[in-house]
Structure formats: C-alpha cells, structure tokens
Assembly symmetry: C2
Homo-oligomer: 207 residues x 2
C-alpha cells in the first residue's frame, strides 16, 4: 500500500498538475513541481515511484498520465455528490465553486429553510426545504454534506446531515459542531492559521 | 518561550473557550476541553501550565482568564485589519463573517474592479476600485489581504496585495498563487482534506 505521508501530499501534486495542464504544459520536472508545492523535489521523486511513475531524465513526468493515476488512487476520477445546506452568500459561492468541480465534487442539491428562497434557483439547482434532505441524499447517493448556514443553525444542520447516513461533512461555520463517530468532519475556518502566523510575525517583526 | 506545538494548539483552545463562554459557562475542565478539541486532556493540562494557568481540582479552569491570556499571547487581543479583494458572493460572506470578527480580525476595506459595484456598500464599507488598494492599506495600517476574486484574477490580486507591503495573504481561490518571500500565504481550499478523507473511506468502506 501507499504510505500515509504520500497520500497527504498527493492532493497537492494533483492541484499543481491540473493547473500546469490548464496552462497548456504537457510535462513537468520534479524541480518544477517542487517550486509550486514547496515540497523537496527528491521527496516528490520518491513519492511518485510508489505508484510506478518514473520521469524521463531531462524531460520530466507526463502530466496527463500523472493526473489520471493520482485521481484514480484518490478516487477523484469519478463524481462525488455534495448536499449544500444554506443558500446565502457563501452557499451561492460554493454551489458555483470550480475548485470543487475540477476534482469531481459536484453540488447536486441545495437546501434552505427560508420559504422565500425555496423553489428559486442557484445555477441549475432548485433550492429545496431542509425537510427533503434525507430523501434527496438517499435518492442521489450523496456522500458529502456542506454547512453554510448562520452560526446558530450549524449544529442543527450537522444533526440533520448526520441523520441521512452521510459520511463526510464540510463545516464552513465558525462553530464547533459535534457529529457521530462514523462521520468525518472538516472545518474550513481560516482563523487558526491566521492566529498562528500572526504569533510568529509578532515575534520576529513586532507586527 | 512557548514551544511550537503548544502555539499550534492555542487557537483550537481559544475557539472552544469562546464558544463555551458564549454558551454562558464560566469554568471548563481539561476533560471538557479535550472532548471539544479532540486533544488528550493530559496534553491540555501540560500546555496550559506553559503560561502559568492552573486549573483548580474539581472546578477546572476559569474561562475568562484563559481567553484573555491566550488572546494576549496570540496577539488576538487587539484588532487586525483586513483588506478584501473581490466583492462577489464569497466576498459578501467574508465581510460579514463573525468567525473572523470574534478574534479581532476586521475587514476594514473592500475592493472590486467592477465599476457597477464601486461606490456601493457591503455592510458599512464602501466598495473601492482596486487602484486605491495601496493608499488604503498604508493609511489604515492593514496587515492581512484576502483574495475572493475569480480564479483567473487571483495572481493579479496577489501581486497587487504584495506590492502594498502587506505581510499575510489569505487566498480563497483554488489557484496556486506565487507571492514574494516576505509574504505568508494561506490557502483555504477544502479540497485537499476532502480528497484525503475520501481515500481513507474508500479503503475501509468501499465508498
Ligand atoms: N469559513 C469561512 O471562511 C467563512 C467565510 C464567510 C462566512 N462563513 C460562515 O458561513 C456561514 C454562511 O454565511 P453567509 O454570509 O452565506 O450567510 P447568509 O445569511 O448570507 O446565508 C445563510 C443562509 O442559511 C439559511 N439558513 C438559516 N438557517 C438555516 C437552517 N436551519 N437550515 C437551512 N438553512 C438555513 C438562510 O436562509 C440563508 O439563506 C456563516 O456561518 C458564516 O459565519 C465562513
Ligand atoms: N475556498 C473556498 O471554500 C471557496 C468557496 C467558494 C468559492 N471560492 C472561490 O472564491 C472566489 C470568488 O467566488 P464568488 O462566488 O464570490 O465569485 P463572484 O463572481 O460572485 O465574485 C467575484 C468578484 O470579484 C470581482 N473581480 C473580478 N476580477 C477582479 C479583479 N481583478 N480585481 C478585483 N475584483 C475582481 C468581480 O467583480 C466579483 O464581484 C472564486 O475564485 C471561487 O473559486 C472558494
């Protein structure tokens, strides 16, 4: 099997490779990949041998082959459906977010408890009432739930999503929500990193 | 000085303590903090002694004191100003985001290159043209830039922010932007974690 550390780094390689591909490049050296990911090129070469990818001396790696291989390993070669709870400012941005789409993550259902929003559209999705969450998740085989409601409603949204049998929840709210043990919770709150950086800058620069 | 590992964990403790405080609690045990942060309670007790905080047996830690101490250590006891570039769906959500405000991070200027948006308001902020970025960052002493523009405009926004002398940039776009060495860049893209979780779930559950 592929070691844990390598799996951690594969999404970084994938992001960079997709960006190089959309820039029209067809090969990439480990040095170039190292520049864009801030990972040591020797580490990259070691990582890629784990799944039989060998660059040609002087030419580098074939980008299309690498993208295809990494996507297959990570399961990003097929579509994963997302249910989005909260159709406000952030929800509208997430429904349309290319960063998810390019890796096969598709928002296929949007829910909101505001009757004025229900029945209207975000892109080509009709906003449904949260009471339809469970039926829709089952009917569409949705694997991931996204929480984009106001902070006071976050725990309720997490409870409703967990009750559908969904296994992964992406929480955009600043509230720490509790989920049952079989659910993997990801918080996207950028504040932790910001506080950490400020501490270091204040020590070195007196920011 | 406080060890690096402890500094990494302090923002987690702070988030939980602020949430407990807003729930009306005044003390918290290391066991309770451990539940909410998924960190071992013995590790929490060790961490908190680094800055002279000792809980009382059977009572726990005083939440107000801990919050105040951690905020002072991290520099979150005073306001840090943010410049937001991009006043679309995501920008509107960020301008109003309580997760930043509660830690003293205030969006104090918003920029957009769409003439139809310039001069209008997001909350009580007037949307300015990007050409005013440098003057505003200097005049207000802004420390952090936030990129919420479409992917194709991300590098340009990063270049303009870096040129102002700003030291921290928070990039919400899925594009890997390059910044000069004195700028600390944070990407909030949730996709890496999602791909990582999917890999593990597919290994154990055949997701
Ligand atoms: N992680 C980040 O970087 C980040 C950035 C900005 C905002 N946020 C957070 O994202 C969340 C959404 O922010 P926003 O600006 O889009 O808010 P918003 O008010 O524009 O949208 C919230 C939507 O949720 C709906 N809603 C409210 N309660 C609901 C419930 N119980 N069930 C279903 N829908 C419900 C509302 O009707 C509204 O449409 C907030 O919690 C905010 O703190 C996070
Ligand atoms: N990290 C995440 O979780 C996440 C989630 C959703 C969206 N996104 C990303 O956030 C970004 C914004 O998404 P959105 O839905 O708000 O888009 P949007 O189109 O609603 O808003 C973009 C805004 O940027 C402005 N703009 C365009 N070019 C500009 C430039 N050169 N300088 C200044 N302003 C400029 C536009 O006029 C518009 O107001 C996108 O890159 C999207 O991929 C990230």
């Amino acid at each position: 099997r592929i070691p844990e550390g390598v799996i951690e780094r594969l999404p970084l390689y994938l992001g960079v490779l997709i960006q190089l591909r959309s820039g029209g490049e067809s090969t990439a050296s480990s040095a170039r990949l190292g520049e864009l990911t801030d990972i040591n090129p020797a580490q990259i070469r070691r990582d890629l041998t784990h799944f039989g990818s060998f660059g040609k001396r002087g030419v580098g790696y074939d980008i299309a082959t690498l993208v295809e291989r990494i996507q297959r390993i990570l399961g990003a070669d097929h579509v994963h459906r997302l249910a989005l709870v909260g159709a406000g400012h952030l929800g509208s941005a997430i429904a349309d977010y290319n960063g998810l789409r390019q890796h096969g993550f598709l928002v296929t259902a949007v829910f909101d408890n505001d009757p004025a929003k229900q029945g209207t559209h975000i892109g080509d999705l009709v906003i449904q009432d949260v009471s339809e969450l469970e039926d829709t998740v089952t009917a569409q085989g949705i694997e991931i739930g996204v929480i984009a409601v106001p902070p006071h409603a976050a725990q309720d949204a997490a409870d409703r999503l967990s009750a559908t049998g969904i296994r992964i929840i992406l929480n955009y709210t600043p509230v720490i929500v509790r989920v049952p043990p079989q659910v993997t919770l990801h918080n996207t709150d950028p504040v932790h990193e910001l506080l950490h950086t400020l501490y270091y800058l204040s020590k070195t620069e007196g920011v």
